[in-house]
Symmetry: C2
Subunit: 320 residues, 2 copies
Amino acid sequence: MPETAALVERLRAGDARALARAITLVENDAGAGEGAAALLTACFPYAGRGLRVGITGAPGAGKSTLVDRLAGRWRAEGRTVGVIAVDPSSPFTGGALLGDRIRFQDRQGDAGFYARSMATRGSLGGLAQATADVALLIEASGKDALLIETVGVGQDEVEIARLADITLVVLAPGMGDDVQSLKAGVMEIADIYVVNKADREGADRVEREIRAMQSLAQTHSEWTPPVVRTVGTTGEGVDRLAEAIAKMQAWLGQENRLAKRRARHWERRLDAMLRTELMRRARRHGVAEDELARHAARIAAGEEDPWSVARELAGRIVED
Amino acid sequence: MPETAALVERLRAGDARALARAITLVENDAGAGEGAAALLTACFPYAGRGLRVGITGAPGAGKSTLVDRLAGRWRAEGRTVGVIAVDPSSPFTGGALLGDRIRFQDRQGDAGFYARSMATRGSLGGLAQATADVALLIEASGKDALLIETVGVGQDEVEIARLADITLVVLAPGMGDDVQSLKAGVMEIADIYVVNKADREGADRVEREIRAMQSLAQTHSEWTPPVVRTVGTTGEGVDRLAEAIAKMQAWLGQENRLAKRRARHWERRLDAMLRTELMRRARRHGVAEDELARHAARIAAGEEDPWSVARELAGRIVED
């Protein structure tokens, strides 16, 4: 595939348009097509060298501002930076891409910076896989750090957290029930807590609640997530946040911790990829495109049960 | 399996303890075990007769109060009601079950009512499947209506929305960015919008924003989601909400719409079930339990790429 090789070469040389083309190619066939698989396989050896930082938290906590601040700081230090914003906005208006352009306007023309938004649409398990693919391509283009921003606490976020080496959970005072419901779900994935908008009333309370939750949870890790206060709009505390990230990066560098963490994450992703590969082969060997739809109609009418159908279809390609 | 048959019989007779036992059984082996599959298959013919209503929206919008109000109203009309609250709280303290007990205290001893919380934990695609299984069991126990409450706008919610015949999206004034980011992601699944806490300032603005989004979106459906204002704490507007649900139920009853909608939902669920079944067989025929972990470590070290591994493992049970 000489085309793939040429694209990978340009991408690795830092050509932003080649990167954008590669991402579009992979997004369009969701990693399943031959072209996308070849491209990802070719880029794989050049990925995984940078640091991947996930940023999650409820809408309104100020994640985007913090991402911009961290990116700016790292760029000023000479590190190249990629950003993926997993953005639930605007499936109808195409606002995600528009948002990119507005949001990162001041970095236009900065060859050491690349940002991409992804909308939360797509098929089963699709968003986490698509984000993983895009992360790989951005890393292969030679970025030293990759920031992956997500909203919320759903299954998606937990899976996207598996792409990150370090996950920041951003909270803010004055968000009422949000903080309450966010906290527990994300405690499993939080490496560093950020109390943003720390100049507002209630920052103490948010920090106290985090500490209280921590004392209740029996975490098995030797790493106790620190709580860092920031004011994204002024940049206050971003130095401390960058230090906390550097400290955790150093910790991960010891005793093979980063490799173990990435291996754990890969195990889950490999499981999903194997399911997708099996399904692809099932479709090729006897499960026709429209067959699921036909069975689905019969299941909805109560004429068949879904377990028997799943067994029958699977049985065509592999015995029980 | 005489045990399964006995359990199904007790469950169908409305025995709440049999239902609870069945749910525990299914949750514990996540629908994958022989016992769980037999139980679900046995219950399947008795499910799907009631109406399934999904309720989603950001934390703090007042979903729980509305669910309680609707449940109370329907119980007063003599309809039996089930509730599933998919609850992101408390992976550490087991608070979900405790929450049930506190929240539905006044319905204790009401044989026509059953509520269950589910925590947002579990494996890949696990929560949507687990919720589907629990919904089936509660329906098979003879409930006329099932309310499924979820938080947020992630992939989970979209998949759980596929369990519902009618999906309510609950918004509230004064939630700042939440409304903004919630709106777009849920427009695809919303059948009825609820502006709760409508006695607060800003309810007009929330309704205006919904209408503005609707006018932008090119929906292909003949159903235009109405906007209903409620005050969950006082019960104001719950009558109108129940009417809106009844109206949509009547609409779904025409031109085979409900059957078509359920068939569309089943198609997606069948896809997931087939993947799980293929994976189960792969594990039985040559993909050893620890093999994914060993490959994952090599992938994390850059010694193998995941696509080749997925192809190799899949190739053991079915050719390409």
